[in-house]
């Protein structure tokens, strides 16, 4: 089991390095930070000077080595655009994205699993069919359209919910939270719905099909043959077995939540990392962009590690030390 987790960790490090290389190289060669830093009025000489000072003339491997060494210490340099440490920018924006992503994920998971289980159990009921049909519409609706639609209905026409931003936040240490104020909570509603909707539909469909699959398994038949009540079979025997593959895919989907946060945060002007990234792309703010990429990779490594741990907790076959036996 330890070896299993260690292996996941090692893989994580390799992934991080690979992403670091991508982050470094693509932004090294895309766009020219010098022009963006110096503004419109800079002279040619100014530009040459700054290029030299930023080390953009050094050999590329040296630049990469410097990049990795710095990044490992949490030093992503100073934002070209804001003149502030990227690490502190990321920390400042982190709470907004984390609150949005985690709430969306919870919303997607809880609702998705509940609806998926319902659709599987009542697979021929009209509500289940309606839910399935709606879920397909959900899959077919681009995230940004959902966001725009929600703003139009709830912010402009009905004026129930704020159209942008986080509302009032409360600082708890360095963390800022919107969960403790009414306006903060109201501000969360539409972004969370927008961001969670696609994941919800995916998880729901996944749960339904996995559950239908599990419900045909021999051990379910055997449990029935032993007279175990149907409710118990569904929620005790089938659900847990359903959740194992669901958690793998759902863990992967969390990465999707982070990425679609780019779109959601753009639409709702949500002051999170996605918006920071989009703004950074606008201004070719290299340090911020590479830090964001590494952040996404880190989230991936973290979630796959978490998924592995949840696996261990859920599947006894892994705990006894032979991961090969679990499929």
């Amino acid at each position: 089991m330890l070896a299993y987790i260690l292996r996941s960790l090692m893989q994580g490090i390799v992934v991080m390095l690979a992403v670091a290389f991508i982050a470094f190289s693509m932004f090294r060669f895309v766009g020219d930070p010098v022009v963006n830093m110096l503004g419109q009025e800079a002279t040619l000489q100014d530009r040459a000077e700054l290029t030299e000072r930023l080390g953009l003339n050094d050999p590329v491997p040296l630049q990469f080595a410097r990049f990795v060494a710095d990044a490992a210490q949490g030093d992503f340099g100073i934002s070209y655009r804001q003149g502030r440490k990227v690490s502190s920018l990321i920390l400042e924006r982190l709470p907004a994205t984390v609150e949005l992503a985690v709430l969306s994920a919870i919303f997607a998971f809880v609702t998705g699993i509940a609806l998926g289980v319902y659709a599987a159990i009542r697979r021929d009921g009209w509500i289940a069919n309606l839910v399935m049909a709606l879920s397909l519409i959900g899959v077919s609706l681009p995230t940004f359209l959902i966001g725009i639609g929600l703003i139009y209905i709830f912010a402009v026409e009905l004026r129930w919910l704020p159209s942008f931003g986080r509302g009032d936040t409360v600082a708890v240490g360095w963390w800022t939270t919107g969960l403790l104020t009414t306006s903060g909570l109201k501000s969360l509603v539409m972004p969370v719905l927008t961001l969670g909707f696609l994941q919800l539909t995916l998880i729901m469909r996944l749960v339904r099909s996995e559950m239908l699959e599990v419900m045909r398994a021999d051990f379910i038949r055997f449990a029935r043959a032993r007279g175990i009540p149907e409710r118990r079979i569904e929620f005790r025997h089938a659900l847990r077995n359903t959740l194992i593959p669901v958690i793998t895919i759902a863990g992967v989907q969390l990465g999707g939540v982070i990425a679609f946060a780019i779109v959601t945060e753009t639409v709702f002007q949500w002051p999170g990392l996605g918006a920071l990234f989009v703004n950074a792309v606008q201004f070719v703010d290299v340090p911020v962009m590479s830090a964001y990429l590494l952040f996404v990779a880190f989230v991936f490594v973290l979630t796959s590690l978490l998924v592995d741990l949840v696996y261990v907790a859920l599947d006894p076959r892994l705990r006894s030390g032979n991961p090969a036996m679990a499929k």
């Binding site: 390799v14 991508i22 766009g31 519409i137 899959v139 681009p142 940004f144 239908l212 990429l293 996404v296």
Partner: protein, 314 residues
Amino acid sequence: MTVASTPPNPPGRLARIWDSDIAWSFRSSPVTVVATVLALLLVAAAVAAPLIAPYDPFDPASLDLSDGFSRPMVPNEITGKVFWLGSDSQGRDIFSAILYGSRVSLLVGAASVLFSLVIGVGLGLVAGYVGGRTEALIMRVADVQLSFPAILVALLVFGVARGLIPPAQQEQMTLLVLVVAIGLSNWAQYARTVRGSTLVEKNKVYVDAARLIGLRAWPVMLKHVLPNVAGPVLVIATINLALAVIEEATLSFLGVGMPPTQPSLGTLIRFGQQYLFSGEWWILLFPSLVLVLLALSINLFGDWLRDALNPKLR
């Protein structure tokens, strides 16, 4: 007992297809039939756009700025021209733009699906057949790829391409870049499926037998593996087509999609979105509607296909 439905004469090929389980399950699902007809209509309209569309929205010379912002079915105040679904800020006929736009969207979608299919199936075969480190590497890359959100991958690919292609050629290359960007973000599922199937086939006796008598095992395996994976791959491809169309729209929404002179559905929506409050609702509504209908009908078809090809779920 005998079942009465056996036809008296040996049926023809078409009749046999009509009578097959798949065709029957298709016929008996009205939603699927409607969705498929709709999808086919949209695809046909897109393919035949130059024949159907009253204007060529890609020809800038045909645009007259004075036609701008005509309401649907209402003659333009200045030029008196009537546009069925209205016109946009450039005087572009929305109906024609949608036809041509879905053509672009579908082209990008289909080409990127083909691209990821070829890569995915190829890598899956190699992984399953060669095994060892190659397999571990390929599958690991696939894992990472699967967990890296498609939009982000596509943005990155797009960014890299933008940096590598000289600005003068960028417009012509945009379509290709989009195809690669979206294609590269979706190959892993194919690889996984094909690898699984290849592993199963690899251990079958005939592969060993073929090797023993000195035949190359590859072609033999291909003959067995490909039919086995055809079903799941088709399902993934269908659903990915819908995904790719949406992805292209999202990229265009973020401003890195098709150029405004050759708008895809996503680009049209990006334009239309500016007019959300200004009263020119048709610029946003119609392209959005077509995009959603297109994705939905393809999804419905894919959904049915998955269930139909997976007898366990029937």
